[in-house]
């Protein structure tokens, strides 16, 4: 009983005393305790820089013949001369264009199909099984067929990139939509949002983490597809540059192509991470990881 008598006094004071605590607390979780003994920045670069130096030395000291493994400095010189001659920018643009067009087509279709299937039982019944069956085909296995259909023109590469990026986008979009909390859509319904508004204000933002994962994965697939396509069936692009160099045993050019592919992959990964940080600011996980 004594507890019950004490209760009425509590509310007014609890309101006052609680607030300052809460007001201060939000700052804490967004700045997680940085590990006390964080290593200095150069440590992160120790291994990659060490490898480059080691290769350089091995090549200079003729431990490995230069035609097998050219020195990084030689690759850099080659890169410079190819840039000056305009050859490299030209091939690079061709490759970028293929990825941009192929990815736009593939990702848009994946998103569109993902939303259709994620939002409608009928569309799911109609399309999901077929898409899942198609997905099991390694899209690169279609290369010979694609060459028969399109020759070695632009269509062949764009088709393959689109095909390869469609499925990761599709699957992750559907998955993202399924993961949207049904309680939130119910709330939106109770608060008078139309179906269209519910999709735009609840389903889309709720599915966005999934969609961005799909997109990030699609980026990777796009470059991989392009490497194969350009290496086997192309008359331009970075992959062609490498294959053409092989005929003349120009390992420095081949290595350069590999490095460029790696840089392009890293750049698109950075781009998708940028998008995650921009679009998922509200998400505590991404908010905290923003130092990466």
């Amino acid at each position: 009983m004594s507890l019950e008598v004490a209760a009425p006094a509590a509310p007014a004071s609890s309101l006052r005393t609680h607030r300052p605590h809460h007001a201060a607390s939000p700052a804490l979780p967004t700045r997680p305790g940085r590990r006390a003994t964080a290593p200095p920045a150069f440590v992160y670069w120790l291994v990659p820089v060490g490898v480059i130096v080691a290769v350089e030395l091995a090549s200079r000291l003729a431990l490995v013949p230069a035609w097998l493994l050219p020195a990084p400095s030689a690759v850099a010189v080659t890169a410079w001369s190819l840039i000056v001659s305009g050859e490299l920018p030209q091939h690079l643009l061709v490759s970028l264009r293929r990825v941009a067009i192929g990815l736009s087509i593939g990702a848009s279709l994946g998103l569109l199909l993902g939303f259709a299937v994620g939002l409608s039982r009928w569309m799911e019944a109609l399309a999901d099984l077929s898409l899942q069956m198609l997905r099991t085909i390694p899209h690169l296995a279609l290369l010979p067929l694609v060459i028969v259909w399109f020759g070695i023109g632009e269509e062949a590469k764009i088709f393959l990139v689109a095909l390869g990026t469609l499925f990761p986008t599709y699957i992750n979009t559907v998955h993202g939509i399924r993961n949207v909390d049904a309680k939130l859509t119910e709330m939106a319904q109770a608060y008078g949002l139309t179906p269209r508004e519910r999709v735009l204000q609840v389903v889309l933002p709720g599915a966005l983490p999934g969609i961005l994962v799909g997109l990030r994965y699609a980026f990777g697939v796009a470059w991989l597809t392009l490497v194969v396509g350009e290496t086997i069936a192309a008359s331009s692009g970075i992959g062609y540059l490498a294959m053409d160099a092989r005929l003349f045993m120009r390992t420095d050019v081949i290595l350069l192509s590999v490095v460029i592919y790696a840089l392009l992959g890293a750049a698109s990964d950075g781009l998708s991470r940028l998008m995650e940080r921009r679009f998922l600011r509200w998400h505590p996980n991404y908010n905290r990881a923003s130092k990466a």
Binding site: H18, P29, A190, Q201, W282
Partner: protein, 255 residues
């Protein structure tokens, strides 16, 4: 800020709550009957608490009133204030159900027509969240999130406010604070309120009338004739609470 709030709240006193008429309401999910032949009339600006053991159909009743579930049979009639037009019904859940990708203010303003948007920020002030407008819901405490959810429900100036165990997940201290806040806002806005709760004391402290819903049936319906503000330690209230708890305990094994 408070002076800005005053005229709006005054004008609200004219806009009083909706009237609810349920006749022969029946709801079944497959073979499971949740509500049986329910008759209930709630008057304008009445605060009714619905008590009962879990699984007794309380939440289903609210969902039907919110238009989230169709009744299997029977009549649901909502008459807006002054008899004209479709009354506005808003529901508040046990979970805050704030959209994590919207700022607190945008959450409160969700679904609001453009001309009512500043009522969202006024209500945030009224529930004690001034200065938190631009924060993500994830950085608010549980109690603050429920405050925002309450503001969101009230921002629509509902004729009928449905509360589905709104404070059930809060700690005891925050809960009493929220109850007092709800009461003061209701006393100014005079909407009709249907509060579903497990908490007998909460029902008795807040409501004009308590309705017992057991096994989908209306088991009891009585007025709480205690003057407000009610003290939680009041002897009369304690006796009532004891009585009600006995009833609920009796109902428990039958399920």
């Amino acid at each position: 800020m408070a002076s800005q709030l005053q005229p709006r709240l005054q004008s609200l006193t004219e806009v009083s709550g909706a009237e609810v008429q349920l006749r022969g309401l029946h709801k079944a999910f497959g073979a499971r009957i949740v509500l049986r032949d329910l008759d209930l009339a709630v008057g304008t600006s009445e605060f009714v608490a619905v008590l009962g053991p879990s699984g007794g159909g309380k939440s289903t009743l609210l969902k039907i009133l919110a238009g989230l579930e169709p009744p299997t049979d029977g009549q649901v009639q909502l008459v807006g204030a002054g008899g004209g037009g479709e009354p506005t019904v808003r529901i508040m859940f046990q979970e805050d159900r704030l959209l994590p990708w919207l700022s607190t203010l945008d959450n409160v303003a969700i679904g609001l027509p453009r001309d009512l948007r500043n009522s969202a920020s006024e209500l945030l002030v009224a529930v004690g969240l001034k200065g938190r407008e631009r924060d993500w819901p994830t950085v608010l405490s549980g109690g603050q999130r429920q405050r925002a959810a309450l503001a969101r429900a009230l921002a629509h100036r509902p004729d009928l406010l449905l509360l589905d165990e709104p404070f059930g997940a809060l700690d005891a201290l925050t809960r009493t604070t929220m109850q007092d806040l709800l009461l003061s806002l209701w006393q100014r806005e005079r909407n009709t309120v249907l509060l579903v709760t497990h908490d007998v004391e909460e029902a008795l402290v807040l409501a004009d009338r308590v309705v017992l819903l057991i096994d989908g049936r209306l088991d009891d319906d009585f007025r709480v004739d205690l003057p407000r503000p009610r003290r939680r330690g009041d002897a009369h209230l304690a006796a009532l609470k004891e009585q009600l708890l006995d009833r609920l305990h009796q109902a428990e094994p039958s399920r």
